[in-house]
């Protein structure tokens, strides 16, 4: 009798735990759904034209179809008046600064990963570098902002103050016009974001390289290829799909970061897009932060609309990552 009851109890416990598992897993999914729904609801006001919406869906006037989206939200600059405000400067700034960040972080990160996986001897120094990188990944992004502020925006005060630069290269109207120190310009922003994502790029690239079967390396070395020939012609091509996936994830992190750029002092309101590498810029997450922090309801709606745009951009990024992974993946060994 008691044996049966113990058995029933254990089975019941098992079922109860499964129910708990299902509950907590669905809670996680529900939270995600709630997050997206609340932002869509709040963001729809400035993203869509209600007149055009009702014209198309209630009256079937298909000529109004392109007017459903309020394009001026994407093409206007920020404004004190919510009805006139847009995210043009922030979108362009985000794209610029992410491009610069990618151009700097990817070569450095992938280079470090290749060195550590393919060249470095396994000794205490390598272990230290490895440990250092993994702890850098845990450093808060705002601390990288402080490094960026001192090293790039002010350049340790070596070239005068950031407001009144001592050195400049190139004509003012050229895109490669650079001043030292970098001030709050695109180059300072890109370099600061590079600091934030570099550990992520290194770690994901190393994992990608480690996943390449060592038989490929050994075969290459056995027929007389040098370590660099092996790395550049055998290991790297085999690891590229995973490296790219990691790189795109790192870039989406860069695109969503506001804290380090806030520390280097990028402006909130800006009425032109950057002309050169030293020009001021603002980014989408910082614009969202500014709007969400204001007391008025309509600015909250603007923030939600900007979030929708940011999330769509990130989804496109990740879509590209998934596509590349599928397309480039070749069976190995």
């Amino acid at each position: 009798m008691s044996a049966i009851s113990i058995r029933t109890r254990r089975i019941l416990k098992n079922r109860a735990f499964l129910a708990l598992c299902l509950f907590s897993t669905s809670a996680t999914i529900l939270i995600l759904a709630l997050l997206i729904a609340s932002i869509m609801v709040q963001g729809s006001y400035f993203l869509f034209n209600s007149d055009a919406l009702s014209a198309v869906f209630a009256h079937g006037e298909l000529s109004q179809l392109t007017k459903i989206i309020r394009w001026e939200f994407l093409t206007n600059f920020a404004s004190r008046f919510p009805e006139k405000a847009g995210i043009y400067a922030a979108v362009i700034g985000s794209l610029w600064v992410c491009a610069i960040c990618a151009l700097l972080a990817l070569p450095l990160g992938i280079g470090t990963a290749i060195y550590l996986e393919e060249f470095a001897p396994k000794n205490r120094w390598t272990a230290l570098v490895d440990f250092n990188i993994r702890n850098l990944a845990g450093v808060p992004s705002i601390v990288y902002g402080i490094l960026g502020l001192t090293a790039f925006t002010r350049m340790f005060g070596l070239f005068g103050s950031d407001k009144n630069s001592a050195l400049s290269f190139g004509p003012d109207n050229a895109w490669w016009h650079i001043q030292l120190p970098f001030g709050q310009g695109l180059l300072a922003g890109g370099l600061t974001l590079m600091l934030v994502v570099l550990p992520i790029v290194i770690i994901s690239s190393r994992e990608a390289l480690r996943a390449v079967p060592s038989s490929l390396r050994q075969a290459s070395l056995a027929i007389g290829a040098t370590p660099w020939q092996t790395a550049s012609k055998i290991t790297l091509p085999a690891a590229i799909p995973s490296i790219l996936t990691g790189a795109i994830l790192a870039m989406s992190r860069a695109m969503g970061e506001a804290a380090p750029l806030l520390v280097i002092g990028i402006p909130v309101f800006i009425a032109n897009t950057p002309d050169n590498l030293n020009d001021n810029f603002t980014v989408l997450p910082f614009q969202i932060f500014n709007w969400a922090g204001r007391p008025q309801e309509s600015f909250h709606q603007l923030a939600a609309s900007a979030i929708v745009v940011l999330l769509i951009a990130l989804i496109c990024f990740n879509g590209v990552a998934v596509y590349l992974r599928q397309k480039l993946r070749k069976p190995l060994a």
Partner: protein, 326 residues
């Protein structure tokens, strides 16, 4: 047998080398240059660490040497009022307390949910369900933190206020509060807990599970009494790394937790975290130089040290489980 084949391979390498004798020195030089360049990129990560530590140290020392600052007051003081009033106080503990409160709420949200989700994915779910679930949870990790700040301020806070109003007749939670910020940070770090713990559980050898089943265990027994203890160091590593992220999180607390630094453990109150104070200073509420500005570097130093220690512990734990099972 293997010795013979190794000998054969090495003589094959020798033969191959003889065929390219003329270009060998050029090739070796090129190889040397490449190795140097790649090694140089690896040194950058060391330079970053050295840069962070030296800048923070320099400014923190400058801060401590200011005539109005006493080191004991900074390290043990319980009043933080750098911007208000005639008499300024720089005792770090209110900021640590605020950071701690937000992180505790975040951990209490993320660890139970994340751990149970990890057990479900690793032990209960079919391969197909796991293939759907894992990307969904990873979406949560890809959402920018400022979005969680928006969520905390404009969805979680009103929801908490509404619920308390319904239950107790008063909203209890203030417009800015540690609870909502903590819950949002918890949702943000949930994927770290879930995904790293699941990895740790997946690397527990099958034989342990099979042994337990053979003794008549239910799935519950196996997952809670066998797999979880076996994966414990990995699970703890995931918790440490997640809490490190929570402590360093900036945009959520800057938006939703408020700006009043005081000693409280009440999640319904507004608090100021270390990161939120730095945001306040760098957004330009204080002059660019002087005591307020320097104080933000001292706060950054404390923040850096706390996260560094936690992340070192997390990585040591992670190494340990990798050594055991991989």
């Amino acid at each position: 047998m293997s010795a013979i084949s190794a000998k054969a391979a090495s003589s094959a390498v020798e033969l191959a080398r003889k065929g390219v004798t003329r270009s060998r020195s050029a090739r070796d030089a090129w190889e040397f240059v490449i190795r140097g360049l790649l090694g140089g990129t690896a040194l950058i990560s060391i330079a970053i660490t050295v840069g962070i530590i030296s800048i923070l140290l320099r400014e923190t020392i400058a801060f401590i040497q200011l005539p109005e600052i006493e080191l004991t007051d900074f390290l043990f003081g319980t009043t933080w009022s750098p911007l208000l009033g005639a008499e300024k106080h720089f005792g770090i503990w209110p900021l640590i307390c605020g950071t701690f409160l937000v992180s505790i709420v975040a951990a209490m949200t993320a660890i139970p949910l994340g751990l149970i989700t990890a057990i479900y994915m690793s032990e209960y779910a079919t391969a197909r369900k796991r293939a759907i679930l894992k990307p969904i949870i990873e979406i949560l990790a890809g959402v920018p933190t400022v979005v969680y700040g928006f969520f905390a301020l404009l969805v979680i806070t009103p929801a908490l206020q509404g619920a308390c109003n319904f239950l107790f007749g008063t909203p209890i939670f203030s417009g800015y509060n540690a609870g909502a910020a903590g819950i949002a940070v918890g949702i943000m770090i949930l994927p770290i807990v879930a995904s790293l713990s699941e990895d740790a559980m997946q690397s527990v050898p099958r034989s342990l599970r099979e042994g337990a089943y053979a003794l008549g265990s239910t799935k519950f027994d196996v997952s809670v009494k066998v797999v979880t203890p076996a994966a414990l160091s990995g699970i703890m590593a995931s918790c440490f790394l997640a809490i490190t992220r929570a402590i360093g999180e900036t945009m959520v607390v800057a938006l939703a937790a408020g700006g009043l630094a005081h000693m409280t453990l009440n999640p319904a109150d507004q608090v100021q975290t270390m990161t939120a104070y730095m945001v306040q200073i760098f957004l330009g509420d204080a002059p660019a130089f002087g005591v307020e500005n320097l104080s933000s570097y001292a706060v950054a130093m404390v923040l850096f040290l706390v996260t560094l220690v936690l992340s070192i512990i997390g990585n040591i734990l992670l190494n340990r489980y990798r050594e055991v099972y991989e």
